[in-house]
């Protein structure tokens, strides 16, 4: 199926209705496998002990917080450049999910930092830039609620999203550019992962599980948004006919 075929909301709804049950099942399977590996197979870290278990949720949450904004940036281009009818729907629906993962990244990182660093929070580049990402998510969500017309809200949110995308490389390279308590990249780096396979495998399974969960929630939220717009259009028609 070509991308242009998905421009038809009815066709997209049919696809979502057919695909969602499979995605839900796949998410449940992967989450069960990931949690089993994380809790019953992966060994404790030789330095961090059992707190390494927090990594299996913290790192995927961090990746998906950034993935969410990257997805919104592509959707923003779809809104402003290609004028794809579902692009602003995709952008709007990714924001609360991305915000939730950014919050999880901050919360689990804080709970990991206290026993390992001796503090819940430091104002260093990595932590602060992720906090900025979380606040930007809230800003985009607020903007969507401020403007009633979805088309106008979509264009404004798309511009804000593209401006905010500058934060993504700052988050990624903050640990290289500035001194920070946060460790440097240990999975996606030149020379390969610096993590032992026994810990890397559960991390990858959990990351894939969280990613499929993100996509499932996103697809479901997009279906809801299309239905919401139908309800809005029908109510406007009804009001027009009645008035």
């Amino acid at each position: 199926m070509a991308l242009i075929d998905l421009a038809n909301p009815t066709r997209f709804l049919n696809l979502a209705n057919r695909g969602l049950p499979w995605l839900v099942g796949l998410t449940a399977l992967l989450l069960a496998a990931g949690l089993y590996l994380a809790w019953f197979v992966a060994p404790d870290d030789y330095q961090q002990g059992a707190t390494v278990k927090i990594m299996f949720i913290h790192v995927p949450a961090a990746w998906l917080a950034m993935f969410g904004w990257a997805l919104m940036s592509v959707a923003a281009l779809g809104t402003l450049v290609w004028r794809h009818p579902l692009a602003d729907v995709a952008g709007k629906c990714a924001a609360p999910i991305g915000a939730a993962f950014a919050f999880l990244c901050l919360a689990t990182g804080s709970l990991w930092g206290r026993p390992m660093w001796g503090t819940y929070w430091v104002w260093d580049a990595r932590l602060t830039s992720v906090l900025v990402l979380f606040l930007m998510y809230l800003g985009v969500m607020a903007l969507w609620r401020t403007v009633e017309d979805p088309a106008r809200a979509g264009r404004a949110a798309a511009i804000l999203t593209l401006v905010g995308a500058i934060n993504l490389p700052i988050i990624k390279f903050s640990v290289d550019w500035w001194n920070t308590l946060h460790q440097p990249a240990s999975v996606f780096r030149l020379g390969g992962p610096a993590i032992d396979r026994s810990i890397l495998l559960p991390l990858i399974v959990m990351a894939v599980a969280f990613t499929i969960l993100f996509l499932t929630l996103h697809l479901a939220a997009m279906r809801n948004e299309i239905l919401r717009r139908r309800v809005r259009t029908l109510r406007l028609m009804q009001a027009g006919a009645g008035g």
Binding site: W39, F40, D44, G49, A50, T51, K53, I54, I57, H58, A61, P96, I97, A100, F103, L104, A107, T108, L111, W112, R114, P115, L213, L217, A220, A221, R223, N224, L227, R228, R230, V231, T233, L234, R235, M237, Q238
Partner: protein, 60 residues
């Protein structure tokens, strides 16, 4: 269940917060879908339909 060591509370809290937030996201999409489906069914019951659906109903 394995021993979680001296920092068990932090580990459990991290997983608990994650479970609560993810359950909240799932509840949000499920409740929202029911609300939109109910609103559409209500409009349909009152005869308010999209033009394409009205045309299809006439053909049928």
């Amino acid at each position: 269940m394995m021993a979680l060591g001296p920092h068990a509370a932090f580990i459990v809290a991290a997983y608990l917060i994650t479970a609560i937030v993810l359950a909240g996201l799932i509840a949000w999409v499920v409740i929202d879908h029911r609300a939109q489906a109910r609103a559409l069914a209500d409009l349909d019951a009152r005869g308010v339909r999209r033009r394409s659906e009205t045309a299809q109903a006439k053909i049928a």
